[in-house]
């Protein structure tokens, strides 16, 4: 079952947002197939530091596939070759001895590189600010069971809410579209009674922010669904389009605010 690998890594190095980047080639030896991909990068970083070099910067935190921090382009695939898997849950048994692995950051204009493999995904937070919630203040909620939610609606909402906000959908899309991300949040609240009062306002504001951030449109190549580690389906994009048209038709536009 276990074995050890010798690998060549071509890793994107970039000092900061303003500098130009380039690939550097490194060798790592004796990598256990039981290691996770990030543990393999830990080994590389220890090696680089012992050689007096600066380690490769990459985002990671929980290392169990839920926080959404990690995200690397591995041989051209967002989060690597496995389906429904984050970079941190990818294991080295998926690779062969002697293989060359190309490791890049997410590449999308709305996600500028901060350093090496680390990108700035704050555009996602700004989209959420425009409506990724139910506007309910602490303290005035009714009794939890006073509003039944049909189980299929709850399941659909949960499927959409499983999004971890990693950005793989954007990185894998040739248009750098964020419609899977936005569609997931819009869907979660569109199918729940709690989300109904702000249904139109939410979708219009979130889509407006998405456009402002510079994310592209969806052209139905479905790369996002293939790359999504949380199994979020493109049916959420379809629902996003329906919700958006419906809101335009009903004409409940965003309320004027200071930013508007």
């Amino acid at each position: 079952m276990s074995g050890n690998l010798n690998l060549t890594l071509k890793v994107w190095r970039q000092k900061d947002a303003k500098s130009a980047g380039r690939f550097e080639t490194y060798k790592v030896a004796d990598i256990s197939t039981d290691m996770s991909f990030l543990e393999m990068l830990d080994v590389l970083n220890e090696q680089l530091q012992n050689e007096g070099k600066e380690p490769v910067a990459f985002d990671h935190d929980c290392r169990e596939g839920i926080c959404g921090s990690c995200g690397l382009m591995i041989n051209g695939h967002a989060h690597g070759p496995d389906r429904a898997t984050t970079t941190c849950q990818l294991h080295m048994r998926r690779f062969h001895d002697g293989e060359t692995i190309v490791i890049e950051p997410w590449r999308a204009k709305p996600f500028p590189v901060i350093r090496d493999l680390v990108v700035d995904r704050s555009a996602f937070d700004r989209i959420i600010q425009r409506g990724g919630y139910v506007s309910v203040n602490t303290g005035n909620a009714p009794e939890a069971n006073s509003t039944p939610v049909p189980q299929p609606n709850q399941m659909t909402a949960m499927d959409a809410a499983a999004c971890i906000g990693c950005g793989a959908c954007v990185a894998s899309c040739k248009n750098a579209s964020a419609m899977l991300f936005v569609g997931a949040k819009v869907s979660q609240y569109a199918v729940l009674p709690q989300g109904r009062p702000e249904r139109e306002r939410r979708v219009l504001r979130m889509v407006a922010q998405m456009d402002e951030e510079g994310f592209g449109a969806c052209t139905n190549t479905l790369e996002c669904e293939a790359a999504c580690p949380a199994g979020v389906k493109v049916s959420n994009i379809q629902r996003l389009n329906r919700e958006y048209l419906r809101a335009l038709f009903l004409g409940t536009g965003p309320e004027p605010s200071a930013e508007d």
């Binding site: 290691m35 169990e64 926080c67 600010q129 919630y133 909620a141 949960m158 729940l192």
Partner: protein, 640 residues
């Protein structure tokens, strides 16, 4: 510095009325005055995000900080199994009183009674609020909320969203926080690490942060500081915590005068994926909810090399069911962890290292069908398979205990205020509610109780009752804190020694796991203390931190955190040495019953140990808050 007075400020009277009595007697800040106050919230997990959102909703100005790239990524997101609430939706005899008693007993009678009662009381409101936020909790076909069972309880009171309850609750709180960003009352500062606390004229008035992208130091001032910065489990290097979790914010506050309570109370979670190799960077939890349907066992014959599916029923020892018939596989975490260790120490362990036991779903799959089990635990099984390459639908999981949660933390009174006026501590970062062992599905409950329903009330007496003159970054206290944080970073970068930060962290982790982990004894703890001091000395003369301070530098981030762990670890060991009894997660080998259960000593150790920093290498001073039990009278804890 002997003027420490550890009064809890919890009111007297009937337990069920204490929180109401306390709220009614508290000073208030009127709505039109709230905008004049600025509140600093550090950490955006369940406690921090819920506090930041709720306070901004009320009209306070809030500044929130996290080291992650987005507040949505705080480690609360990784909580899997569920959140407790005394709703009694299952009609099985649950009540606020029962949740209170279960939590006190689960904590092995080392928590403050009034706090725990309040927690149980608030639990029901949390569920109401989160449902209103659109958190997609599991539901029955009729559309009403579903519950499951968790360890240490004989009722079903745990609400859940598949195996991602923490994620869904955190995204609810994160949405609420981002809504307040939109409203303009909350400013969010991601990728910021708190490096010091500003205490001006005896009151917490600000923090020093480092911008992790640019390396710039910043001073932020306000009228109150809330720490919701989580636990210190990563002192063990290997734990189920996220890699970034650290003790720095708490430790810096401790050095500024906040007492640190019960640091030896760490929770070792029984169901984690076993360690595989020396390269391992973290451990992965398999939710306690699995013990609802999974049965824990080891072979009856030590060293039985047959595949688990080939071992017949007669050669299996379902040791939890055997030893604890009334709770079976759902005994509390400390009990289950110790039992697993005992079986492995006696040679019954399985797997390549012998440090694992089986968690078997065969019978549940036979009873309920694979699709039912998949619907309940699909994501957990998927995760297990990713890590181990084994399919738990067909072979039993292998599990072993791992560090998961820390019950100790900064000492707080009933208002969640530390011994530094104006410094409040929420969630895992404080010590108050779980005693010596936390029950499953209670961390989410406590984080959200503190943030949504306690601090919005208890911050007011501080703001309304104390004189809080204007302060800015030129104040001597701000300048002093800023200079000391800058000097420390400079020092770390200048050592330029031979060893990487991780190599120190791994060595420290192994040491404390070995000597201050699941079992502790006097000699081992003394050795550990000595070795920690040596390691700390070596760190400050031989660590190598590459790169510069003026840029994104993850080695530097880690170096600062490990430096604080090296100080904190000694206090943890010291606390474990001092507490010559066994209780909850703190198991002193010298103090156990004939059947290897923890043996408490209520007369001598029925207190919360609160340690006071003395500066330099001077020994910390121990202060004691006696724990009184008026309602839940201590008994020998039994789950048999």
């Amino acid at each position: 510095m002997s003027d420490i007075n550890l009064t809890s400020k919890a009111p007297g009277g009937p337990m069920a009325l204490r929180w109401t009595t306390h709220k009614n007697a508290m000073k208030l800040v009127a709505p039109n005055n709230r905008r004049k106050f600025e509140i600093i919230v550090v950490g955006t997990g369940l406690a921090g995000a819920s506090a930041a959102a709720s306070l901004a909703e009320m009209g306070y100005q809030v500044k929130a900080f996290c080291f992650q790239d987005s507040p949505r990524r705080a480690h609360s997101i990784a909580a899997q199994g569920g959140i407790n609430a005394a709703k009694n939706y299952c009609n099985d005899g649950d009540s606020i009183d029962r949740l209170f008693v279960d939590t006190i007993k689960g904590g092995d009678y080392r928590a403050r009674e009034a706090n725990v009662y309040r927690l149980a009381e608030i639990s029901v409101k949390i569920i109401d609020h989160c449902v209103a936020q659109g958190v997609p909790f599991a539901r029955e076909y009729g559309g009403l909320l579903a519950n499951r069972s968790f360890g240490g309880a004989q009722v079903s009171r745990t609400f859940y969203a598949r195996g991602q309850t923490g994620q869904q609750l955190l995204l609810g709180a994160y949405g609420a926080l981002e809504r307040q960003v939109d409203s303009g009352r909350l400013r969010m500062f991601p990728r910021r690490e708190m490096l010091d606390l500003v205490v001006a004229d005896g009151v917490a008035r600000g923090i020093v942060t480092r911008n992790l992208i640019t390396g710039e130091f910043e001073v932020h001032t306000g009228h109150a500081v809330l720490l919701a910065t989580g636990g210190y489990g990563n002192v063990f290097f290997l734990s189920t915590n996220a890699k970034g979790c650290n003790v720095t914010a708490s430790w810096r506050a401790h050095r500024r005068g906040a007492l640190f309570a019960n640091p030896c109370f760490t929770q070792i979670h029984p169901t984690c994926v076993p360690v595989k190799g020396s390269y391992q960077s973290k451990l992965t939890l398999m939710s306690e909810s699995l013990r609802n349907d999974g049965r824990v066992w080891v072979p009856k014959n030590p060293g039985d090399k047959r595949r688990p599916e080939d071992i017949p029923e007669s050669d299996r020892d379902y040791y939890l069911e055997r030893r604890y018939p009334s709770y079976g596989n759902l005994v509390p975490r400390d009990v289950a962890s110790r039992a697993a260790k005992l079986m492995c120490d006696q040679g019954f362990g399985v797997g390549p290292s012998g440090l694992a036991v089986y968690l078997d779903f065969r019978d549940a799959i036979k009873r309920d069908g694979e699709s039912t089990i998949r619907a309940k635990y699909g994501n957990l099984f998927h995760m297990y398979r990713k890590i181990t390459d084994d399919d738990p639908y067909h072979v039993p999981m292998m599990i072993y205990p791992a560090v998961h949660y820390t019950m100790g933390g900064l000492w707080v009174d009933y208002n969640l205020e530390s011994t530094i006026p104006g410094l409040f501590v929420l969630g895992e970062a404080n010590f108050s509610d779980h005693g010596a062992n936390r029950l499953g599905a209670s961390a989410l409950m406590q984080g959200l109780a503190d943030g949504y329903f306690v601090i919005p009330y208890t911050v007011a007496p501080h703001l309304a009752g104390r004189k809080l003159p204007d302060i800015n970054a030129d104040h001597p206290a701000c300048r002093e804190a800023l200079e000391s944080a800058e000097a420390r970073v400079k020092k770390l970068l200048s050592i330029n020694g031979e060893r990487t930060v991780d190599s120190f962290h791994r060595e420290l982790g192994l040491l404390v796991w070995d000597k201050c982990g699941m079992a502790r004894n006097d000699a081992g703890l003394r050795q550990a203390r000595q070795r920690i001091q040596e390691l700390r000395e070596e760190f400050w003369s031989n660590v190598r931190v590459p790169g510069s301070g003026g840029s994104f530098n993850q080695s530097l981030e880690k170096a600062g955190r490990v430096a604080d762990f090296l100080e904190f670890a000694e206090l943890m060991v010291r606390d474990a040495l001092e507490r010559r009894e066994s209780c909850g997660g703190h198991f002193r080998e010298e103090f156990q019953t004939e059947d290897n259960e923890a043996k408490r000593d209520d007369d001598t150790y029925g207190y919360a140990a609160a340690w006071q920093f003395q500066g330099g290498n001077k020994d910390e001073i121990l202060h004691k808050e006696p724990l009184e039990f008026e309602v839940a009278k201590p008994t020998q804890r039994s789950y048999k």
